[in-house]
Amino acid sequence: MVGIPSRHRSLFLLTGVVLLQVLLLAVQIKRDSQGRLIRVWTVSAVSPVERSGAWGIGKIRDAWRHYFALSDTARANEGLRRENGQLKLEIMQLQSKSAEADRLAALLNFKQTQAKVPMVAARVIGSSADANSAVIYLDQGLRGGIRKNMGVITPEGVVGKVIESFRDTSQVLLLTDRDSGVGAMIAGTRIQSPVGGTGEPFLNMKYVGNDDEVSVGSRVVTSGMDRIFPKDLPVGVITQVKPGGQYKQIRVRPSANIEKLEEVIVLLTTDPLALKPETPPTAATAPSASGQPVSRLTNTKPAEKHP
């Protein structure tokens, strides 16, 4: 053992005696907020060690749990993945049901506002097997009152017309088909021209002269001249206007979301229907809650029957 040099002994003794008395003081002193000073010191001295120990043990425990003791983790992970998949599926189903409920609510609302127009809601159950023809099948047919050449719409706009009706099914030619067409006019200028499909998502307004004023963004509505659709039903919005040889080349984006149809409305009449302005009387159409113009249909006096 290394001895303390004699000239330093008294210094060591001084240090020891002073420290002892400091401890003696600490034992006696009691601070109002923290208790006895000796306890404060002891806690202050011990707590960093405890904290370090707890930190170290925590790290070791974490390392053990995260890198070594993983036998249950894989099983738990597998279970969680399975549960996660089920939950995702449930969410998708619920979202789908929610969207369906929204659509059905829109259809119901449309039917209620057009109470005087005979119509039936139908669900889209299939589409054409041919990629070149835009055809869909509905779950309603002759028994539901659906006949050939009846108009098919959604609250957003014109969809197409019934080309075949079976007992419980009907076939609908969509507006985007090359062979499809609808009597239409530009809402502002009342320029009339049929709108037909092009086999693409866009429609074509065919016979508008180069001298006519047509602007992009104008609404295109049904003219009622085809004796299938009532007047002033939304058909689409003009997105492109180009001068052509004899007529302008006008592209129209359909108002109805024709590519994603799930429920539609079949107008159960081939009698001419006319738009009755809602409010104000001068307004041709009124915006719906969805921002789309909604036409109020009334069954006008039947001028003539169209078989």
Binding site: L13, L14, V18, Q21, V22, L24, L25, Q28, L37
Partner: protein
């Protein structure tokens, strides 16, 4: 056994004094009793710190740091016991003073009255400084470092020390 002997430090020769048996103990008790007794009848006597003067004197005379600091510890703790201060407050201060007095006494000639006056003045101030420091750090009691009363106490105790030490010199073994 010699009553006095020389302590050779460098070129100087410092005498180490011994006292008759029981002298230190009696002086210590007497100082403590007076310290507790006098202010009852003479309030202004509270400026005196007789235990400190005894600590300084025997530290300077004995010139042994270990003995000096232990004597300071004992006197300080007894003084604490007789007062309402926590045990150790004066103990620490007088331990340090006892050590320093013994250490300085071993290096300087402290027999001259002026030297005794100056040393007592310095030790008294240092003693008060240590007491205030301990009070601030450990007791969390805000105390001023210097007051006029402290200055007066320094002077009074230093003057008294000159006479007291002269008196105590009588008890040295010659």
């Amino acid at each position: 056994m010699n009553d006095t002997f020389d302590l050779r430090i460098g070129e100087s020769h410092i005498e180490v004094h011994k006292f008759h048996g029981g002298t230190i103990l009696l002086c210590m008790i007497f100082a403590l009793v007076l310290q507790a007794f006098l202010p009852v009848y003479i309030p202004k006597a509270s400026v005196l710190d007789l235990p400190l003067l005894i600590t300084i004197y025997f530290g300077l005379s004995r010139r042994n740091p270990s003995t000096g600091l232990l004597l300071g510890t004992l006197i300080g703790l007894l003084q604490d016991s007789l007062s309402k201060t926590p045990l150790g407050l004066f103990g620490i201060a007088k331990t340090v003073i006892g050590y320093l007095a013994s250490s300085i006494g071993a290096r300087l000639d402290t027999e001259h009255p002026l030297a005794r006056f100056a040393l007592t003045f310095a030790f008294f101030a240092l003693h008060q400084g240590i007491v205030v420091l301990v009070q601030k750090l450990l007791l969390a009691q805000p105390q001023p470092w210097f007051t006029m009363r402290l200055g007066i106490a320094c002077l009074v105790n230093s003057v008294l020390a000159v006479f007291l030490y002269y008196f105590l010199d009588r008890f040295r073994k010659s």
